[in-house]
């Protein structure tokens, strides 16, 4: 799984795409039990961050999203923060 496609520069310097962290560490399975890892991919409101923010590859973004949802079900991560 390679790098994200280079975006065409929009009014300035070209956007350097960051490689997906899970690909970089060669993670085969995004575990819902690693809630501390998953916490990096939710906003401080508890919402799942967009791909352009997390800079994950499509496969891992999808896996991370399912894992976050599983973790929420088991009360490892909150559904909403501060309400």
């Amino acid at each position: 799984m390679g790098k994200r496609r280079e975006k065409p520069p929009r009014g300035g310097r070209p956007v350097k795409s960051k490689p997906c962290v899970f690909c970089k560490e060669d993670v085969a399975y995004v575990d819902y039990k690693d809630y501390n890892v998953l916490r990096r991919f939710v906003s401080d409101r508890g919402k799942i961050r967009a791909r352009r923010v997390t800079s994950l590859c499509p496969q891992h973004q999808r896996e991370a999203a399912t894992s976050i949802k599983r973790a929420r079900e088991m009360a490892l991560l909150p559904y909403v923060v501060g309400r």
Partner: protein, 104 residues
């Protein structure tokens, strides 16, 4: 993974988990050693409870295991939540994060 109600003590939690182990084994599965995370704070309230005992167990399932196990987990009053997840064949056994202890 299952969450057991916080009203029980460690031993009763062990008994509860043991019950599920026998179910797995009776129905042709193989149950691994349960991994006790201990008492943990929940991310949100479930039935007015703020913490619970987390237990993780890996097992292989026989034909009837899942049907039976799910049915019994659902009717058990001392299990707050449970999930059964099919692990990929490449799943590596790595040490789990230290559970946050709650003094309650």
């Amino acid at each position: 993974m299952l969450i057991v109600i916080p009203e029980l003590d460690e031993e009763q939690v062990g008994n509860t988990v043991g019950r599920f182990r026998t179910i797995i084994e009776r129905t042709g599965g193989e149950a691994g050693e349960p991994n006790h995370w201990g008492r943990r704070k929940l991310a949100y309230e479930i039935d007015h409870r703020t913490d619970g005992f987390y237990v993780i167990m890996e097992f292989t399932a026989g034909e009837r295991t899942l049907v039976e196990l799910k049915r019994i987990l659902r009717v058990s009053d001392d299990v707050l939540r449970h999930t059964i997840v099919k692990l990929p064949p490449s799943y590596a056994h790595k040490p789990l994060p230290e559970p946050e202890e709650v003094t309650a």
